[in-house]
Symmetry: C2
């Protein structure tokens, strides 16, 4: 991970469809260099995947979920990855155990997701926070 790698990643983060040729001329290296670097970054797991950032609904939110002491948070979390409108499921340290990042049509749908979370027998508490604005680092 040197400076060139970081610059390539910056460009890809903003637009992963930028052609290697364009990245190359921007950074003043050859197309092959960019391609080799990207391949290596992928092999090394620095690039986890090429993906799309979407906004299918009008409301993004974090639903924080706390599960009972004696249950495996992973199995609860795994189940939630299958729910519609759930973009990410994070296992986190701290007060609550799981954070769902969701992208829903409206607040009613968010509410339905909260209800669904609360209906899981392992879930003892939820806290929800709307994501009012998102900016790229």
């Amino acid at each position: 991970m040197d400076d060139l790698d970081r610059k390539i990643l910056d460009i890809l983060r903003r637009d992963a469809r930028t052609p290697y040729t364009e990245i190359a001329s921007t950074l003043d290296v050859s197309e092959g260099t960019v391609r080799n670097r990207v391949d290596r970054l992928r092999d090394d797991g620095v690039i986890e995947r090429f993906t799309v950032a979407t906004r299918t609904g009008n409301v993004k939110a974090m639903i924080e979920v706390s599960v009972a002491m004696d249950v495996d948070t992973h199995s609860v979390g795994d189940r939630m990855t299958d729910w519609d409108e759930v973009d990410f499921v994070w296992q986190v340290s701290g007060e609550l155990d799981i954070v769902l990042v969701v992208d829903a049509a409206d607040t009613t749908r968010v509410n339905e997701l909260i209800t669904k979370a609360r209906e899981q027998e392992e879930v003892v508490e939820t806290k929800t926070r709307l994501i009012l604005d998102e900016k790229l680092g």
Copy 2:
């Protein structure tokens, strides 16, 4: 947004480099249809951007930040987007105002980021939670 759109998005979310021809044959439509749909989804803002999910460090964390009553959270948040290792800056509702999603080399670096956040004069409180595991929805 019909079922075909959703299926295309699912595929792209998992691998945005899947060729249109491959998506097309998986979903039993023509390559042109996939391309037209993707273009439209992009124009409509459903696809915000093509990007890479990265893990440059070994520790991901949420740093929650609370700012003083009388300041504009946006200006504080905007400043933080420029910091290294910050992937996202969210303005959120609820107890704290801003969530930084960071990807740092180690916990020492996370700690340095927390310190940096606390050094901002508008910041009155921080809470940090490590992201122990991340799964795609």
